[in-house]
């Protein structure tokens, strides 16, 4: 091999990754740093913003939006747990007993993604509306008191989040369950483990990577979401996403929005990396 050739080989991976990585550095990493800078500026839209390193904005937004921060993590956590509990038996059934219908079932699982995320959420607004096709009918048949309402409650927001991100939970679960070597399960049965023991001591532990990956893929978007809270939650159940969106796009108070977004990013990224460290990024990345 000539020297020139060897040089080419060494440079090749950098040349290949350069355009993509430059794009990500310019429009993903650099903005994260710049957002922190923006958060410490003061001023307003008309007079312009100046860099004053005003870090006082951080305690200010934490104080002002503490409920939204707490609610986001609470709703995100609840939605993740619901998605896990609801989709585990489904993923299990498809992986172990899906047989020839496996492909069809998986297709049905991702079918909601063919309808836009915003439209899916709006559909729940139609379903849960006071005089809508479901609640309206139930009230007319006196199965529900006429004053009952489902929209504008925290339950509606959590259900919406759990619904929207359920496939993100179900698919990694399916992959991890599908990967389990059937002979291991067989062996447990041959060694006289009861059905319950086979599940609790063999299948469940082996599916944990899927649980962790699904948990991450569900929790992060659910916590950062504001569409569900906006459409289903009314005014009293908004999350940190709603607040960030308002500060940026309605009040044009960029520093406050940037500060909140920075806090959310730090909380989530620290969490994600701690999570990835503990479990190995590899195992999570395989499912992403």
């Amino acid at each position: 091999m000539s020297g020139n050739d060897r040089l080419g080989r060494r440079a090749a991976p950098y040349l290949l990754t350069m355009p993509g990585m430059l794009w990500l550095v310019a429009f993903f990493l650099a903005p994260l740093v710049l957002m922190v800078t923006l958060s410490t500026q003061t001023g307003n839209l008309l007079d312009g913003f100046r860099q004053t390193w005003h870090f006082g904005i951080y305690p200010q937004v934490i104080w002002q939006y503490q409920h939204q921060f707490l609610r986001s993590f609470e709703y995100g956590g609840a939605a993740t747990i619901i998605a896990l509990v609801v989709s585990y038996p489904l993923a299990y059934w498809i992986a172990f007993h899906g047989g020839r219908r496996k492909t069809t079932l998986l297709f049905l699982l991702i079918l909601p993604f063919f309808v836009s995320f915003v439209i899916r959420t709006l559909a729940w607004q139609f379903i849960l509306a006071d005089d809508g096709i479901v609640l309206g009918a139930l009230k007319r048949w006196h199965l529900l008191p006429s004053g009952y309402h489902a929209l504008a409650t925290s339950t509606a927001v959590i259900s919406g989040l759990a619904y929207n991100f359920l496939p993100f939970m179900a698919l990694p679960l399916y992959v991890s369950l599908e990967r389990i070597d059937r002979s291991v399960v067989e062996a447990a049965g041959d060694l006289y483990a009861s059905g319950r023991d086979v599940f609790l001591r063999v299948i469940l532990p082996l599916s944990l990577p899927g649980v962790f990956a699904g948990g991450l893929l569900t929790f992060v978007p659910a916590t950062g979401d504001y569409v569900n809270a906006d459409v289903l939650g009314g005014t009293r159940n908004n999350m940190v996403g709603n607040a960030i969106q308002r500060e940026y796009l309605e009040f044009f108070h960029y520093p406050a929005g940037a500060a909140m977004s920075t806090i959310l990013m730090v909380l989530l990224l620290v969490g994600i990396f701690a999570y990835a460290r503990a479990l190995g990024t590899r195992s999570i990345q395989e499912y992403v």
Partner: protein, 249 residues
């Protein structure tokens, strides 16, 4: 019972074979399938509802949740609704352009990750992982911060920049996963037979990894056309389909 027989039983019936109790059999035959059907029905409910309400007879003035009877009027009116057609065209154009750019850049990254060991590989993987794991609201807010600080006017261009940004990693991960079974010996054979590196790439490598690239591109297109949160931050006055729908209700 011999091992072979057990295996065969497992192929037909799943685990447990003949040792399972009646309770387990009931769980497998009835409870789990019915439960799964209900969950899938639940996942599909909003789609039925949306289709149904497309035929709802209501006043055009405001959004109504009440069922007012059957009409086809909305399908006739769909293309004269102000803004809808323009928003849809915007979405298609943005998705097409950003998919092409993201697919090229993402595929190159995937090739580097698959074929080479190099310093900085871990960093590349880390950035891709962080990009996928980061919440959309943070991606949108930070990108808007960049545009605000540099006084970049928001519009179609900034939306395309954003969509390429969040799609590169998805394409790279998808293409790389599909390369897993790729046999390097085929490339070496091509080179032994006198093909230069470019010819090898275009006539041997590319056709073999094309299904992966296509999968990555389809994913990127779908993510682009559906994106609301990031787009909402960087769109300025331009409306894409999801933004139009959001504003219409």
């Amino acid at each position: 019972m011999s091992i072979v027989a057990t295996r065969d039983a497992s192929l037909v019936e799943g685990w447990g074979g003949p040792k399972q109790t009646r309770k387990q059999r009931r769980l497998r035959r009835f409870v789990l399938p019915i439960y799964s059907a209900l969950v899938i029905l639940y996942l599909l409910t909003p789609i039925f509802i949306i289709v149904l309400y497309g035929f709802n007879q209501t006043s055009p003035k405001k959004v109504a949740f009440r069922w007012g009877g059957f009409t086809l009027r909305w399908y006739r009116k769909a293309f004269v609704l102000s803004g809808l057609t323009a928003a849809f065209k915007n979405s298609l154009m943005i998705a097409a352009i950003s998919t092409i750019i993201a697919t090229i850049l993402g595929t190159l990254v995937a090739l580097a990750l698959f074929r080479y060991r190099y310093r900085g590989k871990g960093a590349t993987e880390g950035i891709l992982f962080a990009n996928i794991a980061a919440p959309e609201i943070v991606l949108g807010a930070s990108l808007l911060s960049l545009f605000v600080l540099f006084g970049v006017p928001r519009g179609i261009r900034t939306i395309i920049i954003a969509h390429v940004m969040f799609n590169i990693a998805y394409v790279a991960v998808t293409v790389r996963a599909r390369m897993a079974g790729f046999d390097r010996a085929i490339e070496e054979a091509a080179q032994d037979l006198g093909a230069n590196p470019l010819q090898t790439f275009i006539r041997v490598t590319l056709p073999l990894i094309f299904p992966g690239i296509l999968a990555g591109a389809l994913l990127a297109f779908a993510l682009s056309i559906d994106d609301f949160i990031i787009t909402n931050f960087v769109s300025g006055a331009v409306e894409t389909f999801p933004i139009w729908v959001y504003g219409a209700v």
